[in-house]
């Protein structure tokens, strides 16, 4: 998630990570596949056919820009990204992107 002004200046970038975790035999949360004995409620992966709403609040006021662009993107990354994957170089495979613009109230500078 990125919020930028009309010049492309980014006010803020926020990330959410969707990942799978399990519980090891000692009850500890782990991401190492072979230590997992059961799924963990700590997993943040999207469930099958799930619709999830993520809410964000930015300390940005209308007077901070003449126009705001809000962008959201979801990328698929391997953990760790295999060296033989193009995703390792590109920072992940883009799954979806969307954006919108909002008018701001920053006065024109003369």
């Amino acid at each position: 998630m990125t919020v930028a002004d009309e010049t492309g200046w980014e006010f803020d970038t926020v990330k959410r990570v969707y990942a799978n975790f399990g519980v090891d035999k000692n009850g500890r949360t782990t991401g190492v596949a072979w230590e997992i004995v059961k799924r963990s409620p700590a997993s943040t992966s999207l469930a099958a056919e799930e619709t999830r709403v993520e809410k964000f609040s930015f300390g940005v006021e209308p007077r901070d820009a003449r126009r705001f662009t809000v962008r959201a993107a979801m990328r698929y990354r391997y953990a760790p990204a295999p060296q033989d994957s193009s995703a390792a170089e590109t920072g992940g495979q883009t799954m979806a992107e969307t954006s919108l613009t909002l008018p701001g109230r920053r006065p024109l500078v003369r």
């Binding site: 399990g22 099958a48 056919e49 193009s86």
Partner: protein, 255 residues
């Protein structure tokens, strides 16, 4: 874990000389040209050769106290999926593959990966597939099996049973999904259908892609999720709501 004695690797094929060791998929590709080309691009073809596998296999054997690959049972916890032909091979073959993988001797692992034999060879020596009336040929007997159209076929590796390593667990998600109720299987998305010849010069058939695209495929990744966005100012703060809709019948990410 292993089935020592069944001897896949020492079993003579029903056509002399066809099976005298691990069968490279390239050999099948001499006739099944398109299937082979597609499969070469797939991650199934790299099940023993990817950096990810080679690193994790070594780490796992070390974790289990068998760092040299000399415990076939431990090695098969990975290789039963990554080298499925070993499920019908002796322990010596399991040791050989483990040693080659630990030495990163990828060239000599050819024929052991998730290839043609791993999915299509029957214990009888015949090769099976979803083609209802396979043509007789001089290389192998052919059998029809409807199992290739079922999600359960993929579950042999893409499901988590308590004794296995949960590398991939998409099948149990899919079983509970709306897609499953609608009759959409794994193959529906991951093995796109087309018409063409299954072998060079053969009759036109309904064929299925053997690229098996997943999240590494740009096109497939973009079919997996839909994003929605709403934003507005409230009390001089920018409030944003992002809707992420998983369009797949399994968790995202998997593994």
């Amino acid at each position: 874990m292993t089935t020592a004695g069944r001897g896949f690797l020492s079993r003579a094929g029903h056509r002399e000389g066809f099976w005298t060791g691990p069968v490279s998929s390239a050999r099948c590709g001499a006739c099944h040209v398109e299937h082979y080309r597609e499969w070469r691009r797939s991650f199934h073809a790299r099940s023993l050769a990817s950096e990810d596998f080679l690193n994790n296999f070594a780490r796992y054997l070390e974790f289990r106290g068998a760092p040299r690959g000399d415990d076939p049972g431990v090695a098969m916890e990975c290789l039963s999926c990554h080298a499925p032909v070993l499920n019908a091979a002796g322990e010596d073959a399991v040791y050989r593959v483990s040693t080659l993988a630990l030495a990163r001797d990828v060239e000599n692992l050819d024929g052991y990966e998730v290839g043609c034999v791993g999915c299509h060879a029957e214990p009888s020596g015949a090769f099976s597939g979803p083609i209802a009336r396979p043509q007789p040929n001089p290389f192998h007997a052919s059998e029809f099996s409807p199992f290739y159209k079922e999600g359960a076929f993929c579950a042999r590796c893409h499901a988590w049973t308590p004794s296995s390593i949960p590398c991939s667990d998409v099948y149990s998600d899919w079983q509970r999904s709306l897609a499953a109720k609608q009759g959409k299987t794994c193959q529906h998305c991951h093995m796109a259908e087309r018409t063409g010849a299954a072998v060079a010069g053969g009759p036109e058939r309904k064929l299925h892609s053997h690229v098996f695209p997943g999240a590494r495929s740009d096109a497939m990744a973009r079919q997996g999720v839909a994003l929605g966005l709403k934003a507005g100012f409230r009390n001089d703060r920018l409030e944003v709501a992002v809707t992420a809709r998983n369009l797949t019948p399994h968790r995202l990410p998997d593994g």
